[in-house]
Structures are given as structure tokens and as C-alpha cells.
Symmetry: C2
Subunit: 351 residues, 2 copies
């Protein structure tokens, strides 16, 4: 279970399953790194422990909710792509993958507080079940735990990468709050927001993989670029899905962003190319926040009419291409192919 | 300004002013460490900077609100007591003092969210002015900044002390939330809460002072014990003041804790020794949260009648004595005397 590389026969088996069309690229990557992922899940559960019972209780709720664990998967994949050799005693990649997931979960909990969203990952959000107060405080605990995990790792370089990312995430979240309800937000400002709130952690998650493998700066930079671009593509698609997907597929309520007056590219694109009447509609629902039941279908129709989803997905595709290109400095391998397919999967979710 | 020790003549002058009764012991300690404190204030302002304008704006609000800066003062005092020699290039104590204040301020901001208190430090709370969302997110930013400051310091020992303290604070806050409205909370559980939410950071703030000075373990332990016991005394007195002080003195609304159904020693003591009628009163206001205008004066009368404030202050005095005793391994000095007087001042606030 703690061997340096995944078992080859298992890999082949998984590849067959994938070719049969039964699994997504993300599941295939996860399966390829199955032992690492299991170790990471165990680390997450172990480090959620606390003498204060509510903390592991709320933790169990989050673990049960599952989620894709995309960010820790990226840390594990990046470290293995860089040839990181783990031993039973040396599992730095696992500790850091758990650390990355804790930072992400803390952000989700705090996002639940501020966004009052009631559905996340298809389950009731932690906030709806446990209340605002618990979400803020348990988020703080997970954030503190993530710093304990970095400290335990012991690399100042890793700590700088992850603490810088944490500050950038918070700045992105504040910037998102400031641009809320403001249709005059330039697209570049929106891109800054999603870089902060999403891409910065993807980048850090990947970069620390190269650091634990003790690889040259060029590989660190390549993985940072991979993560940044994948994160941008991921968030653009997420923002598109909020006006396109049905709730079962997405696992969250469609129209959440609109209800919150969140400024995302689909809205900016539809607003920019809308008729005066359309623009008045967006100003009422997004800027004034005056919404009725009939507004979501109308918004979806306007977004369809103006091709705003296609505009958003085209942007995502461009970032995805950059992400794939960033991996080109690594030799071809099954793992690199799976990472490449994961990028494409991220964008294809929107189809 | 970056010299190793404060100017002696200035110290004498301050001592004279203090003896004249014009200043509190806390101000005297602050004055003794004036140059360090000024450097710390500059570091706080500099590290509050962000390309997202709302962050320094909210930061300026907090800096303007001032506060006692007790925790960073403890870091500076502890480092100097251990003979730490700073140079213009080496100001580790200042960076860590700022770090400690950022952790504290992040906690205050998140406390504002969950507690809905409207007055803190005699000014409108950041929450009331900027909203819940800003308090959560700017708190997260400050928390992330504190970890960047630790990383910049570069000592794994310091990082372990401060990240452990951060996790303990969060656990204490969660435990406080869980015990809310529960009059069956044992006194030991209450003491655990205030250890987590207050004493742990006081202890860490002091302990890192010994670490930067590169002093033996015994001095680290002594300063940890000093901080822990001072923190316990401080919080006990704070909890007493919530049922005793007038708002001008305390800088916050009297009766806040009661309105929130917070379990503190004054309430536990009054409840324990109350008549059946008194107990029914506490059960209604604290457990059921059913309160009217007339309840606060009645609560104050019951607390007076049962000597609950005296009980609380007596506990605080015992912790204060432990704190003073912890300093006994250090040779007598003006600084040690000022630290001792600060302990006494902390308790005397309640008189």
C-alpha cells in the first residue's frame, strides 16, 4: 500500500474499464492513484479528530458528502509525475494532499456562511445543517489544521507556497464580494476573482508535488502553470453550469449565482451583447437583486440567445489547452495521459 | 530605533509618570517597549496591505479602533525579558508580534459574525459596519497573513507553537458554542473553553519570545506558563466585567454574554448558589433565551447577592499569582516588574 508506484496490472484493468466508457477521466486518474488516495482519505479522517466532538461530527458530514477531492488528487498526481518515491515512513505527498483539501474545505464552509447556498454536492450544506456559527468556527479549525500539516511537512518552500495561496484565496473571495451586483465589472476583474478563489489553490496543490519530489524549478513552474490554467478552466465551466446544468448533474441548485447577484462570465457576456430591454432585465435582477420566480427561465433564455455559455466555454477551452501544454516538459506516460484527460473532462462537463 | 534595549532615561521618566498614578501598568509596559511597539504597529499596517482595497480599509478600521495590543506586547516583552537582541535587519520579535495580533484580530472578526455583538472596543464592530461576509473573509485573509508571517520568520519551532495555538483557539470557540445555553456545563468545561479561546494564544505569544531569543527550554516553559495563567485571569475578569462594569470603562455593552446565553463563571456561580426561584430565572434567560428589558438588572442583582463576581475574581487572582510566580526564574529587572504589574492590572480592572 505504501509502495512507490501503483501496481501495473491494476492500472491496466482500470484503463480497460475506462475504455469501456464506464468511467470519467477523473475517476480513472483517481483509480490510478488509488492507494495514495486511500492514504489521503485516512489522513483526512485522522486529522479531523479533536477532543471537541462536534468537529469530527461536522467533519464526517463533509467526508460523507465526498466531493471529487480534485485538489488533493492533483497534489498526488503532480508528485508522482515528478517521480516522487514514497516509503511507509515518508508520505509527504499524502500529508500535503490532506492539507490542500483542508484549506479547500475551510473555504467551502466559509463560503456557505456568506453565500447562504442551501445545496452543495447534492446534500444539504453543512451550514444548513449545523448553522452559520459552526461553519465559521469549524472552517477556522480546518484552516489551522492545514497549517499544522504544513508545519509537520517541515519544508519552508512548501509553507510559503501554501500560505501565499491561502492569502490569495482570501483576497479573491473579498474581491468577489466587492464586485457582487456590479455589472460594470470588467472581464479582467472577473478573471482576477476566479484566479484568486480557485486557480491559486489548484496551482499550489500541483506545485508542492514538484517540491516534495525535489525537482528542478522548471518542473515546479510547469506544474504551477498546469494548475493555474486547469483551475481557471474549472471555474469558468462551473460558472457556465450554474446557468446550464440540471441539478442532478451538477449536484447544486441551478441559478444560485444569479440569486446571489454574483458576477460571472455568462452574465457579463449576456449583458454586454444584450438589447436595451435585456440589459434592463439584468440590471434589475443582478444589480438591484429584485427577482421573481419567472426570472431564472428568462435569464437562461437570454444566455442561450446571446451565446454566453459558448463564450464562457471557449475561454475555458483556451485555459485547458494551456494546462495541457504545460505538461509537455514531462515525458509521455500513463499518468501524464490521465492528467491530460482530466483537463479535457473538466471542460467536457459542460456539454 | 532598532537598538537592542529601550533608552534608560525614557524608562525612568515613564516610571515617574506611573508612580504619579496617571498611567496603568499596561501603558507603562507599552511605554517601556515603545520602540518595539511602534515597529510592531508599522508591521501591522504594512502587512495589512493588499491589492484589494477593502482589506486595508477594514484593516484601518481595526487599527483605528486600537485595542490594547496586549498579545503582541507580550511577545515583545517576553523576547526582551529573554535578552533578545534585535538589529535593524533582525526584527523577528516584531514580525511575530504582528503575527500574533493578526491571529487575534481574525478571531475577533469571526467572533463578531457569530456573536452578533454590536459594540467592541467602544466602537461599532467591523461586522456592524461592513457586514458578516466581509468579517468572515477579511478574517480569513488576516489568518492567512499570520501564516505568511510565521513562514517568513522561518523557525519550525515557532510555526508549531503558533499553528498549534490556532487549532486550540478554534477548538475552544467550538466548545464555547456547544456549551452555550447549557447551565449544566461543569466549571472545568468552562475553564477548558477560556483556555482555548484566550489562554492558548497568550501562552504562544509569550513562548515564541523565548524561542527567538534562543533560550533554554526552561525559559520557554516558564513563559508559556506565564501566558497561560495571565490569559486565564484575563478572561475570567472579562467575564466578570460583563456583569459588572459600566460600558464606558469596558468599551463594550454590559450584558452581552447574558443576551447570547454564554456560559461564564459569574452565571454558573450564581446559578449554583441560587434559590429555586433564582434558578428558574437563569433557566429562562440562559437556557431558553427568553429575555425582557427587566432581566439584566435582575441578573446583576442576583450576581451581587450570590457573590458570583467575588468568586470569579478570586479564581482570577489565583491564576494571576501563578503567572507572577512563573516569572520568578528570571532575574529581577524593570521589565520583569512591569510584566508583574501588568498581571495585577489585569485583575484590578474589575475593581
Amino acid at each position: 500500500m505504501d509502495s512507490a508506484a501503483p501496481d501495473v496490472s491494476a492500472t491496466v484493468e482500470k484503463a480497460v474499464v475506462r475504455d469501456a466508457g464506464g468511467e470519467s477521466a477523473l475517476s480513472a486518474l483517481s483509480a490510478y492513484l488509488e492507494q495514495d488516495m486511500q492514504a489521503c482519505n485516512r489522513a483526512i479522517i485522522a486529522r479531523m479528530e479533536s477532543p471537541v466532538p462536534l468537529i469530527p461530527q461536522l467533519g464526517a458530514h463533509l467526508v460523507a458528502a465526498g466531493g471529487k477531492r480534485l485538489r488533493p488528487l492533483l497534489t498526488l498526481a503532480a508528485s508522482r509525475l515528478c517521480g516522487y518515491q514514497s516509503t511507509p515512513e515518508n508520505q509527504r505527498h499524502v500529508g500535503l494532499a490532506a492539507c490542500v483539501e483542508f484549506i479547500h474545505t475551510a473555504t467551502l464552509l466559509h463560503d456557505d456562511v456568506v453565500d447562504e447556498s442551501n445545496l452543495r454536492r447534492g446534500l444539504a450544506s453543512a451550514n444548513a445543517v449545523f448553522g452559520n456559527k459552526a461553519s465559521v468556527l469549524v472552517g477556522d479549525f480546518l484552516f489551522a489544521r492545514s497549517f499544522q500539516l504544513m508545519t509537520a511537512d517541515g519544508s519552508l518552500k512548501v509553507m510559503a507556497i501554501l500560505s501565499d495561496a491561502s492569502a490569495t484565496i482570501a483576497e479573491g473571495e473579498v474581491l468577489q464580494m466587492v464586485t457582487q451586483n456590479d455589472l460594470s465589472t470588467p472581464v479582467d476583474r472577473y478573471l482576477e476573482v476566479i484566479h484568486g478563489k480557485t486557480a491559486a489553490l489548484f496551482a499550489a496543490a500541483c506545485r508542492v508535488g514538484a517540491v516534495v519530489a525535489d525537482r528542478p524549478e522548471a518542473e515546479e513552474v510547469a506544474l504551477d502553470r498546469f494548475g493555474t490554467n486547469l483551475g481557471m478552466a474549472f471555474q469558468l465551466v462551473d460558472d457556465a453550469l450554474d446557468y446550464a446544468a440540471d441539478q442532478q448533474v451538477l449536484g447544486k441548485t441551478i441559478g444560485d449565482d444569479m440569486r446571489e447577484g454574483k458576477i460571472t462570465l455568462p452574465v457579463l457576456a449576456a449583458y454586454e451583447s444584450g438589447s436595451p430591454e435585456d440589459r434592463a432585465f439584468w440590471e434589475r435582477v443582478i444589480e438591484k437583486g429584485e427577482q421573481t420566480e419567472a426570472d431564472l427561465p428568462h435569464a437562461l433564455a437570454l444566455i442561450e440567445k446571446t451565446g454566453a455559455i459558448a463564450t464562457t466555454i471557449a475561454r475555458a477551452q483556451a485555459y485547458a489547452a494551456e494546462a495541457v501544454d504545460a505538461l509537455s516538459i514531462f515525458p509521455d506516460s500513463e499518468l501524464r495521459r490521465l492528467m491530460t484527460e482530466t483537463v479535457q473532462y473538466t471542460v467536457d462537463r459542460a456539454r
